[in-house]
């Protein structure tokens, strides 16, 4: 078998970006996955983006990633969320034609030089002298590589639950990765159990849409990718509600749900609850939303968003009957819950390399996250860092001040996970700066340096960037009726449209994103300046490096618990130390003092 530089295991959303980045950076990359038909399969809902996730997708796109580009090729329903609110919290979201997405993604990867797709099941990571050296497949083939990236998603020891029944599976009727899960434990990884679930898919022709409210896409749809010029809405979604009768049926059958009968031990995501969860936790709600989302253009399958359930098939059928418009609905696939293994991400460094096995990287659901975008963001970073590692270069660590990817990775590796982790905008300290409209300005130059963004795309980016930045400068310098345009706008004297009409033609925004950029830069100017200042101060104080050879157990005055945590997480800087759970300002001050002392002593010892 072809030996290679980097092996990526699993062509889910994490694996795709990982393989793509590593190949783009010039490394021979092998992407092994169970079925080549399910490359980029969207296991659950058909949408990409949303609050925080939309910003994240933009960051992946800004770094040259695949998700947004392919997403735009197959997008069929676009909405900019929070459109009526400020630009920092507006987020693009697209519903995808799932089949199109799989095919287009596979094709996209096939065209990347240096990237090979291979269908196989990995059972073991080969380790030599503490370092990943390849993988072994179910057929017993050993493939050597310099680095391995594992992105097995929900497949790791996956166990599907429907009502009283459960069986090993990684995703509806696909095989679970049991040997790989065992192998990880043998290698010394601490793993835990999480759970998630998905609703039933319905046949479109059996739904009475007249009982639902249509939800059109935006009239002026915003693409996911900076490099896409135009996208169209091709379908309509529908909004409806559950009712007391539905709730009664579910309540009566709760004991038969996998979750409430105690058969599931894994912890599920609170923000993505099953319908039985919602009814138990919010008994005072008389109804819950149901969004009907077509899974594609050339399919009749409809995703019943809001009805995720692990109840037995007949109960799912029974409560559907009680929903106006779904009385005759035919299920093409039932809803189910799935439990799977994850490896606590505190076992990773900020480059997503494991602390246990060198040159082994983990990304996606295996790190305890949930969501396509979260997986893709980590995959991209893992791919980049595997490539950098093999090139003998220092790792790329994205600071949380600069990107949502940075926020997510930092949260994961310093805090660990005890329930599925999903990104929220409120997790970011600098929400007004980490926006969808400026993700390219924040990250594309870096991606270009790494070789992830090609010359042509980069030139296009530079043009966009310059236009936006010059327009911004114009707004702050030029005056309208005696006051700077920016101030005239923020004080409500002129509208954004009027402000834009004051720009010289060559500086006028060419799309909504560029408009939003200008809007944000004016609206938040006070904060953005302050954030820059604050960030600088923090950087100075927090970038104080903690010597890796420092022995925390000898730091007098720290609690044993903190000493132990410090030794476990080995923060590189005060900034990281601050994020360790239970860290107090007083303990931090103490730590800073001890580090300074330690450094002084070292430097005097050396001189």
């Amino acid at each position: 078998m072809i030996d290679t530089d980097v092996i990526v295991v699993g062509a889910g959303h994490a694996g795709i970006e990982a393989a793509f980045a590593s190949a783009k950076m010039g490394l021979q990359t092998l992407l092994i996955t169970i079925h080549l038909e399910t490359v980029g399969q969207m296991s659950c809902n058909p949408s990409i983006g949303g609050t925080a996730k939309g910003q994240l997708v933009r960051e992946i796109d800004a770094m040259g990633g695949a998700m947004a580009k392919v997403g735009d090729r197959c997008g069929i329903h676009y909405r900019l969320l929070n459109r009526k609110k400020g630009p920092a919290i507006q987020a693009p979201r697209a519903q995808e034609d799932k089949a199109c997405y799989r095919l287009a993604m596979k094709h996209f990867l096939e065209e990347v030089p240096g990237l090979v797709l291979y269908q196989g099941i990995v059972t073991r990571v080969l380790v030599k002298e503490g370092r990943a050296s390849g993988v072994e497949t179910l057929e017993g083939i050993k493939i050597r590589a310099g680095a391995v990236i594992l992105t097995p998603g929900t497949f790791l020891n996956g166990l599907i639950h429907i009502g009283e029944r459960n069986y090993p599976s990684g995703r509806a009727n696909e095989p679970a990765s049991i040997e790989l899960a065992e192998n990880l434990k043998e290698l010394g990884f601490e793993t835990g159990r999480l759970k998630t679930g998905t609703p039933m898919r319905l046949h479109a022709d059996t739904i009475d849409y007249s009982k639902f409210q249509p939800q059109e896409g935006d009239p002026d749809p915003v693409p996911l990718s900076f490099w896409t010029r135009e996208v169209k809405n091709r379908i309509v979604c529908y909004l409806g509600y559950t009712n007391e009768e539905v709730h009664r049926i579910i309540r009566e059958n709760l004991h038969r749900s996998a979750l409430y009968s105690g058969r599931i031990v894994g912890i599920g995501p609170r923000y993505c609850p099953s319908i039985e969860d919602k009814i138990v936790k919010f008994p005072h709600h008389s109804r819950h939303h149901i969004f009907l989302e077509p899974e594609g253009v050339e399919t009749k399958e409809v995703y019943a968003n809001g009805l995720s359930s692990s109840l037995p098939y007949e109960v799912q059928e029974k409560f559907l009957r009680a929903i106006p418009g779904l009385e005759d609905a035919v299920m093409m696939r039932p809803g189910y819950a799935i439990e799977y293994d994850f490896a606590n991400p505190t076992q990773l460094t900020h480059s997503l390399e494991t602390r246990i096995v060198e040159n082994l990287f983990l990304a996606g659901q295996i790190n305890g996250t949930s969501g396509y975008e979260e997986a893709a963001g980590q995959g991209l970073l893992a791919g980049i860092n595997a490539a950098l590692k093999l090139k003998g270069k220092p790792p790329l660590i994205l600071p949380r001040e600069l990107s949502y990817i940075g926020v997510m990775v930092d949260d994961l590796v310093t805090q660990g996970v005890d329930e599925p982790y999903r990104l929220f905008t409120s997790r970011a300290e600098r929400r007004l700066y980490l926006r969808a409209d400026n993700a390219d300005i924040r990250l594309t130059p870096l991606a270009h340096q790494l070789g992830l963004v090609g010359e042509e795309e980069y030139r296009e980016f530079l043009k966009r960037k310059e236009r936006r930045e010059r327009a911004r400068a114009y707004f702050f310098q030029e005056k309208h009726k005696g006051i700077p345009i920016a101030r005239a706008y923020t004080s409500g004297k002129i509208s954004l449209k009027e402000a834009i009409s004051l720009l010289p033609p060559e500086l006028r925004p060419e799309n909504q994103d560029e408009e939003r950029f200008l809007d944000a830069e004016m609206r938040y100017s006070g904060y953005l300046e302050k954030e820059v200042r604050v960030a600088e101060r923090i950087k100075k104080e927090e970038s104080l490096e903690i010597p890796q050879e420092m022995d925390f157990s000898t730091v007098e005055g720290l609690s044993t618990e903190l000493k132990e945590k410090l030794s476990r997480y080995r923060p590189r800087t005060i900034a990281e130390a601050r994020r360790i759970p239970g860290m107090t300002p007083a303990a931090l001050a103490l730590l800073i003092g001890r580090i300074r002392e330690w450094k002084k002593r070292k430097s005097s010892e050396n001189s």
Binding site: H288, S559, P585, A586
Partner: protein
């Protein structure tokens, strides 16, 4: 929990009927048992009588009381022992020495309280209150810091923080879950913000009074050489503290003494012959330092020599004090008055008090004037804030004001977050995950 055990005398150096030595940490009990041989069985949190034993020489050297506290039911939250031997420094340090010989370490200043803080026995506000209680300059100050130690300020700040946190949760829910169609009631939000703002301002108003009760009012006695500053100083204190002579420039250094007027400590500073036209290096230095003192003080007592007409140095000093809070005194009124009180009033803006330091006349009037001029109205709530807390509250105030100015949820949320952080800084904690945790416990989020 800490791994090492610390030891230190808990009472000041010197001789007295009894002293106290404290031990805290995992080894506190075994170390204590090596030094202290109880007459009966040791019960925790009960005074036990016994003898202090020097294991290096195999002999007893004192008797006294010890109290054993089992973690977490102690001041520091660790195992703790308090010894109360007789109050001789030799005994005290012998006990400390024996404890260190058994592996204890001499505690750093404030370390017992610091441990209490890190072990979660008290928040930052309370830890600070301990220090303030010990340092308070008047009984009113003692009562105040005791109330602080009981958590009165912490409670207020905590309540405020929770109120803001629940608004933040609502706002974040609206931002994060647009599909759910949750809209937070803006009028209620604004009301919460306004109420919080006025609570913050209430707390801020406690600063000056609190500072006064704890630290007292510092006043500098200012007057040309020989005007009778030292005499007045002694007269107010009712003791011959400063040296008084006819020679101008008698006082060469500063004397600092405390009197209590109406529960508030006044710290009076008698200065070196304040000569605005210094005749030598010493006087020049004295003048410089007096000016420095004035800058830090809460005010001054200006003393004019009533037996002489106003002279150029008087004018210079009047000028120097033009911006200070002050009480003006014409001294030596037992002698024929050589200056015009009306003129003094028009020059200083204050009605001068006629006094004779030598004959102790007019002193009650002076005390009354000091009280009226300098004692602030006392806070009824038994609360105060120190300057660290004030800085953080000021910041919270600023953020709340800006939150009130904006309609945009992301900006209001940003300001709220900063305001909450400022309050958390007061309590000494940070809690990022909390907003999210709250969202989920209160709302049903679908999708």
């Amino acid at each position: 929990m800490f791994e090492d055990t610390i030891v230190a005398p808990a009472t000041p150096q010197g001789r007295g009927a009894i002293s106290m030595v404290r031990l805290s940490g995992p080894e506190a009990f075994p170390i204590a048992e090596a030094i202290f041989k109880p007459s009966g069985k040791i019960a925790t949190r009960k005074a036990v009588y016994g003898k202090f034993y020097d294991f290096t020489q195999g002999s007893f050297f004192d008797e006294g009381i010890a109290i054993f506290y089992r973690a977490p039911h102690s001041y520091t939250g660790e195992d703790m022992v308090e010894f109360t031997p007789h109050g001789n420094p030799i005994i005290v340090w012998k006990i400390v020495e024996l404890a260190t010989a058994k592996g204890a370490r001499l505690a750093r200043p404030g370390e017992f309280t610091y441990r209490a803080f890190l072990n979660g026995k008290m928040d930052l506000v309370r830890a600070e209150a301990v220090e303030e209680l010990v340092e308070a300059q008047s009984f009113e100050g003692v009562k105040l810091s005791f109330s602080q130690l009981q958590g009165s300020l912490s409670k207020r700040v905590e309540e405020l923080r929770e109120r803001l946190l629940s608004s933040a949760v609502l706002l974040e829910t609206e931002i994060e879950f647009p599909d759910e169609g949750i809209e937070i009631n803006r009028d209620e939000l604004r009301k919460t913000l306004r109420d919080s703002l006025s609570s913050v301002r209430d707390l801020l108003s406690l600063f000056e009074t609190g500072k006064q009760l704890l630290e007292g009012v510092t006043l500098v006695l200012v007057g040309k050489p020989n005007s009778g500053k030292s005499s007045l100083f002694n007269a107010i204190l009712e003791e011959e503290r400063a040296i008084v002579t006819e020679v101008p420039g008698t006082t060469r250094d500063f004397l600092r003494e405390r009197i209590i007027i109406d529960g508030v400590a006044f710290i009076l500073i008698d200065t070196a012959g304040m000569n605005p036209e210094p005749r030598d290096e010493i006087e020049r230095e004295g003048m410089r330092r007096a000016e420095l003192l004035l800058r830090e003080a809460d005010g001054a007592i200006l003393i004019l020599d009533g037996a002489k007409p106003l002279e150029p140095p008087d004018h210079k000093l009047i000028n120097l004090l033009s911006k200070h809070n002050k009480v003006v005194v014409i001294n030596k009124t037992d002698l024929p008055l050589q200056l015009e009180p009306e003129e003094v009033k028009s020059l200083t803006g204050e009605s001068p008090l006629l006094i004779s330091a030598k004959k102790r006349q007019g002193l009650e009037g002076l005390k009354k004037a000091l009280k009226e001029k300098f004692i602030l109205k006392q806070p009824a709530q038994g609360l105060y804030i120190n300057s660290r807390q004030r800085i953080a509250l000021k910041r919270a105030e600023e953020h709340l004001l800006r939150a009130l100015e904006s309609e945009a949820p992301e900006i209001v949320a940003q300001e709220l977050r900063e305001a909450i952080l400022s309050l958390e800084e007061i309590l000494g904690k940070i809690t990022p995950q909390e907003v999210l945790d709250n969202i989920f416990s209160r709302f049903c989020i679908g999708k």
